[in-house]
Symmetry: C3
Subunit: 681 residues, 3 copies
């Protein structure tokens, strides 16, 4: 990353010159416009396989030599992609094994992208050949700063090659069929396997409800994808082992456990396409913020925003224009949360095919006078004012557990609410209260270490894995504060129910035992009423709850709140329990947002957690902090359509991106982001 950090913040786009080789005037104009837009990097080669190897074994690099050289000559760096995101037609036609088999066991025809078997030896060989040549030819080119491995890995293949790999994976995991049968509880419905060859991946026309099989298949898909990624990485490292690699991730993509990628890539990057102006922009900002924080947390260091649209997308239900200011605000949000770049899909709109109307810096008319181009250029200017933000860090005292495998298991569990358990939404309820109150948050999964945190929030940790029970016990004993919720501690890592009291191994930590859980229809609700004062008095009165109501019995905890309705009115719904030097709270239901705001409002005071600013943060405004060796930066973001006032900051602060006096009350415009700075160290 160091080489990258030296360049300051990166500003650029996916660039597809191979589409325009017959239009030399377009290629020349591109360079001029890139300079006008303040771009210093381009991602290239993402879908270039058919141009690089137009026939099997015949490679053509001249055009790419020219593109890289022209960018370099003009001071623009290159993020070079491996082209495995889409294969040429000739490859699919000659070697049909490279095309995926779906879960319904249907062999794909050629088309689209992400449509190749990660196991296929032919596919692996072809990409190895090409990647090695790319490495040989370009890894040491002074323009090339990063490998962009494939593009948005995703999907799965159920071909016979993958089935065989899956069986091997299971043999390695379980050792014996006996152990697999026990963990998957196959005596249910008489499904005992008597030979490894009997195991098939889940399918709607075959096995689809053996939970252990389902979750293992999803794990296998992640592992298989990483195995393919490692195969690609080995190839590009043939000639320059030090050049860093990234793989671009997708917004809460369910198909891959992104935490598993942390040791294989050098830099995390992701592609961000929020639906601005669809409903509340603040809601969307918080949802995006949470994923930015997750991306930063995976390697606990700055990441890259690899793709975003400078205007609208072309695949959302409605393609809304970004209102003036929103492009800069949303781009700076990424930087505020730890990105060292703002990059776009795409530099120039394609003339044809499925993404021809996707937002881009340059449109079909080729001009720089458009509103979109002007905002991009203005952002480019702004980013140049902030070179020392690159590489700066975010410090968090709070960790929230978000665990992909737990999410898979919850959604597959066939339990209290088959119309939606709301795992992600539940996690976000907690996150939102911290973020709006100016508290930085890290995300961890169950395999992570919590040692450095003061507070760990564990919403719905249904599946216990990664020795999480012991880690949480130790964390509380040693003085940490834990918040645990309903639907926790139910199954082991293979989705097999724990016998004995729930939450498994944690009943002594939280001081309650969960007995039953009531599912509520969408139109139903209950309330929690505060029955014991708990701190500064923010939490008072009644709060509406819905979705799921856990009925618990006390095991040492104090009751802070009780249900008010249904036959369980009067039963505990919020409890507090001290253990060792720490304490643990148990929230037995899904509350409305104001509960989390008030509850964490109390807890933040009680624990004296660090806020990014001392002053009140108006509703609609979000503030993030990053700290470099010499300075702390605050990114003050107004997601509301109204001007907002911020109370005076200390004298040490000064504004970077526009002139404003900060040591008296100051204003921030609708959709404005203001970057301020103070010296540290």
């Amino acid at each position: 990353m160091n080489q990258l950090v030296e360049k300051g913040l990166l500003h650029g786009a996916d660039y597809n010159p191979e589409q325009w080789l017959k239009y030399p005037e377009v290629l020349a104009q591109d360079i001029e416009l890139m300079k006008q837009a303040g771009c210093n990097v381009m991602s290239i080669g993402i879908f270039s396989w058919a141009m690089l190897e137009p026939q099997e074994g015949c490679y053509e690099f001249d055009w790419l030599d020219d593109v890289i050289q022209r960018l370099h000559t003009n001071g623009i760096s290159v993020i070079l992609a491996t082209p495995s995101g889409a294969r040429p037609v000739w490859l699919a036609q000659k070697y049909t094994e490279v095309l995926r088999v779906s879960e319904t066991r249907q062999h794909a025809l050629y088309g689209g992208r992400h449509n190749h078997c990660y196991t296929s030896p032919v596919y692996r060989d072809k990409i190895m050949q090409l990647n090695k040549r790319l490495s040989e030819r370009y890894a040491h080119h002074p323009a090339v700063v990063l490998w962009h491995i494939s593009n948005e890995y995703g999907g799965e293949c159920h071909c016979s090659l993958c089935q065989a790999e899956f069986r091997s994976w299971l043999q390695e995991k379980y050792g014996s069929l006996d152990q697999l049968n026990e963990q998957w509880w196959t005596t249910f419905w008489s499904h005992t396997y008597s030979d490894w060859s009997q195991i098939e991946s889940p399918s709607p026309q075959g096995e689809s409800a053996t939970h252990g099989l389902n979750v293992d298949w999803k794990r296998f898909v992640t592992d298989r994808t990483i195995d393919f990624l490692e195969h690609e990485v080995r190839a590009v490292r043939s000639y320059h082992p030090e050049l860093p690699v990234t793989a671009n991730f997708m917004y809460y993509y369910d198909g891959l456990n992104y935490f598993k990628f942390k040791d294989v890539i050098d830099i995390v990057s992701w592609d961000n396409y929020p639906t601005w102006h669809k409903g509340s922009d603040l809601d969307i900002a918080i949802d995006t913020a949470m994923f930015h924080d997750m991306m930063r947390s995976i390697k606990n260091k700055p990441f890259l925003l690899m793709e975003s649209s400078p205007s609208s997308t072309n695949w959302q239900s409605v393609s809304k224009l970004k209102k003036p200011g929103m492009h800069i605000l949303s781009s700076m949000q990424a930087i505020a949360h730890g990105s060292d770049s703002v990059q776009y899909f795409q530099w120039r709109k394609s003339r044809g095919s499925s993404e021809k109307f996707h937002g881009s810096v340059v449109s079909h008319d080729g001009g720089s006078q458009t509103r979109v181009f002007q905002e991009v250029a203005k952002l480019g200017e702004m980013m140049k004012q902030l070179p020392d933000v690159a590489g700066s860090q975010t410090k968090s005292e709070v960790a929230i557990i978000y665990d992909w495998e737990n999410k898979w298991a919850i959604e597959d569990s066939q339990g209290p609410r088959n119309i939606g358990m709301g795992y992600k939404e539940a996690v976000q309820s907690h996150y939102r209260s911290f973020h709006q109150q100016g508290i930085a948050v890290d995300f961890v999964d169950m395999e992570c270490d919590f040692a450095g945190y003061k507070l760990v929030v564990a919403p719905m940790i249904y599946m216990l894995r990664g020795d999480i029970e012991r880690k949480l016990q130790a964390f509380v004993h040693q003085g940490g504060t834990l918040v645990l919720t309903y639907w926790s501690g139910i199954v082991n890592e293979n989705d097999l129910c724990h016998l004995g009291p729930v939450p498994h191994q944690l009943t002594d930590v939280v001081g309650i035992i969960s007995e039953e859980i009531d599912g509520l229809y969408d139109q139903e609700h209950n309330n929690g009423k505060v029955v014991m004062a708990f701190g500064n008095g923010k939490l008072q009165g009644e709060y509406r709850c819905s979705m799921l109501c856990d009925l618990v019995q006390l095991n040492g905890a104090k009751v802070l709140m009780e249900y008010t309705e249904n036959f369980y009115a009067g039963k505990p719904v919020l409890t507090q329990h001290s253990l060792g030097s720490g304490e643990a709270y148990y929230i037995a239901t899904q509350f409305e947002q104001s509960f989390y705001d008030d509850f964490y409002g109390e807890l933040i005071d009680r624990m004296d957690l660090h806020r990014v600013v001392d002053v009140a943060i108006p509703n609609g405004v979000l503030i993030d902090s990053r700290t470099s060796e010499n300075a702390e930066f605050l990114f003050i973001q107004n997601y509301s359509a109204n001007e907002q006032s911020i109370s005076a900051l200390g004298e040490e602060w000064h504004a970077v991106t526009r002139e404003v006096v900060l040591h008296e009350e100051f204003k921030i415009e609708p959709y404005e982001v203001l970057t301020v700075k103070r010296p540290v160290g």
Copy 2:
């Protein structure tokens, strides 16, 4: 049944000890908990094939010997299942023919249950071998009181073996292709068959709208399933022809005509999973009551409640907890309508796989202190107080026609309302009025005899079969009262339209001719207005109607009500006609519920039909009666969330299940059931 009746009411569950053979402490604990719960029967072996025959031809019965002996030793009887509900993996792997082919002609992979071809000779042979061994080994065991043949038969197979059987079935039915072509009216769209081999089962990518083919295929599926059931029954009867057999049915399951099973099984049983607390509990109670009554009517004798959940299920959209009292109330409802048992799925929750969160008597924590266990045990106590209810009868003067084949034909008819004809709902409108007014009802299909009834209600008898026209004519001539409705008498048993006036052969019985029928969108309605007094004056003013409006011309009937809206305002909507010693009413539309309440309120008085009590029944309360040789029992059930008052009953009544004075006004708690008794004979 006699042997069963001697045991009194049965209380038990599906018990799957094969899942816990590695947990001897669990197996031991099970017996203790069964005794605490007041259980006297367990259904076992339902999904045990893989344990009984772990490899082809290698049988292992030792574990089952132990289970049965342990139950027996502890006074618990056994209902022993044949394990054909799910086949072992080795069987599917070696003989893929046993896996079903779907209507889209897709061969299933191994998985799930109910996934075997009923025709496959291999499958038939394998289950024959195993069932015979079960019969040999256990049929004479003193604990074993009933065979539970397979589990929830259902589904269909379109493999080539089944296609061949279907063609044979058609040859037998029609004799010649000419006759088949005529009845299916294949000249339409030029579909004339010229060879039997051309006939294929219905398929979305083939023939799907030849109504005669569709209805014959559904009949064939029922016949094929019964043929397989008979195959299984022959096997289990090898060593003890007298041990009774049952097959467990499913709530209004559309795929099988359950009336056709009446001669093959000794006892009807079914699995009941209402969605209590989703909307109105009274509505749900009536829906459940109707199916209980249908189950009792099939063999016109007590049935068994084979499965139910002591708490929630895990497959409904939301898994709601049963409120206190509801478990006992809903269990006793089954008994009130003729069940001699209350049984659960399942005794103990599985640790893994798809039903691991389905309700059970014993949960993963293994305790008896749960609310669920306590209610089960309390019900066990209550049932012990009612031994002479077992075997007692229900007497009905009213029969309602509910006919599976008619329902299939209506739903496939492509006629006046393709968004739903509402057959079941229409039948239930009639049923509800009787049940809420304390009138016992039997259900019949068109093949049944109506001789013993005073009143026959025939809603929407679109398809005439089983010589129903002649039977209804005779019934009225001989003094019976008939209620007929719109969309009746349209087609013959092969879904071929009758030529001539509608309702076919019944225009002289009801005294009207149906000319046209208007479909109404869901938001539309019309009204019927009373124009002629008819009895006690309950029926007066206007009643809203919807769905379908039949336009009739009079053929001798008197007009009691007329439409008020649309161009057919003033045309008859309720008529009365006398014929022989009987009379017939024709209802030309689907009315709101109050119409049926008032109309049947009049008819009950006019015909002096027997009510279970003389006093008024409050809304929310339902009362059923059963009569043994020595006593009549009333089951007074309160489905409302409020206390209800019942006027004084006669001095001969006394309460059984709790102390209460009945000869003055008395109260019944929310969700309470009160069983009272008087001597008879």
Copy 3:
């Protein structure tokens, strides 16, 4: 057509006597009833293949001889169909290639209709053999007046034979793969084709988002269907080349570009099944009117209404009865818009299979006393009073562009609104204003000539083809008035985006340049406010707009209206531009209906366009005009449920279909149609 016109207006039905050959009394009764109903034509043979060729090569025509002769003897003409709309079972069984392959590459089983490959040589040979024999035997029969080629052509086949034809079609179109790759922009996602054999038709499991491929496939399907139609036509013309042919079209059917059929058939005909009484009858009448006008426009001469239901259909969600009067009104609407016939599907209801409840003249009871039969007979009488309407013309000064290929491209474009671009609805907004104000409209597609019109309305001409840019430029230069809208001039005929300003080649014509387009969610809206007076002052104040908001910059045009909301408040939304002797208007958004009414209200006055009557037309009433050599006819139609008043017409008018004084204010009943006439020439 002359021979047909001599018969006056045609009144008849699809007649399927082959279903009733075993019922001679039915066949005899048919003739009597046809006479009573005033029918003078029957369409026969549509689904008769299995009766005409019951075994391969064995033909049976005797029954058809009898049917035709009996009709002829009774003065009823015959429209004779080729039976390719459904093939016999023996044909599908012996030659499975004739069954279609779906886009998911699934081979169909036998069933339904429209289920045959248009490429299959066997199928083509079999129908050629049969059609030739029909031609030989019947083309000169005096009863036979028209060939009805196949029935409702539609659907597509993806078999290997069709794939090969598609590749040939592409080779012919593009000449080289280079050109195809360029036009389809296949470098996107690395999809460059290196061999023709690599091209496959679109498929959900293969390529589905290469827009150029998609639109070419749809064109190929139209061309393939026409090629098959020509094959059939060649066969029937073997023995009588002059007998005219028609093919019956379907309401806005998306799968075929009907304008392409104009040179292959002699007469356009179509099948019309409106959902009367579902919502507003006026809305439905306008929707139907527009398609009638489109059918008339294809060959710019009278068409035939080939099918309609005399009562309800059996395939709509709800089958509503037609209110009294509606049958005559809706039938006369067809004539008002240029039909020379009213024909029904079907004469007599089938006894069985999927359409047994479809509306018909004669129902299962076989009677003539039904309401339906009586209305049909009354219409028959009315049509006999109007013999000189047959062959009369409609004169239009206004043309609206409706282009099938443009619609395909818009709907496939993956752009500003993926939940619906509303092309058809947008076109109808313009049409409705003209029709309600008594202005006759023709429809054209982009290949047509606009020379004779005063006003051309071009809504959403996204895809420019047929040299439309040049034609519109010339049209305006030469004095025409053009109305253009948002989302115009974006792509070329292969869906490849034009580079440079939008609308391509038309920015100088309309005097604006489109910069960005904002998609609105369904619940969102904006407004346009009039800022400059434009004529008579009808257009004033604000009008709501929705769906899409185009942001334009002026290029010479004057601003008539501006947006009032969002960040583009104040930008132009309606502009006017003069060019040569003509002028051009640009509408930048989708307005509510009142805008179009007021805008065109002004334009009609400004341009002095011809109205069918001088008097005001009440809301709910529509009036159409047809003119023969000697007379002009007005068809005054009341689609409201209320009586309406029309101001006095001139003395030259007199009523034809009932007595009424027209030169003073007169009344028209609910659902009445009144035909009036004046001499001309």
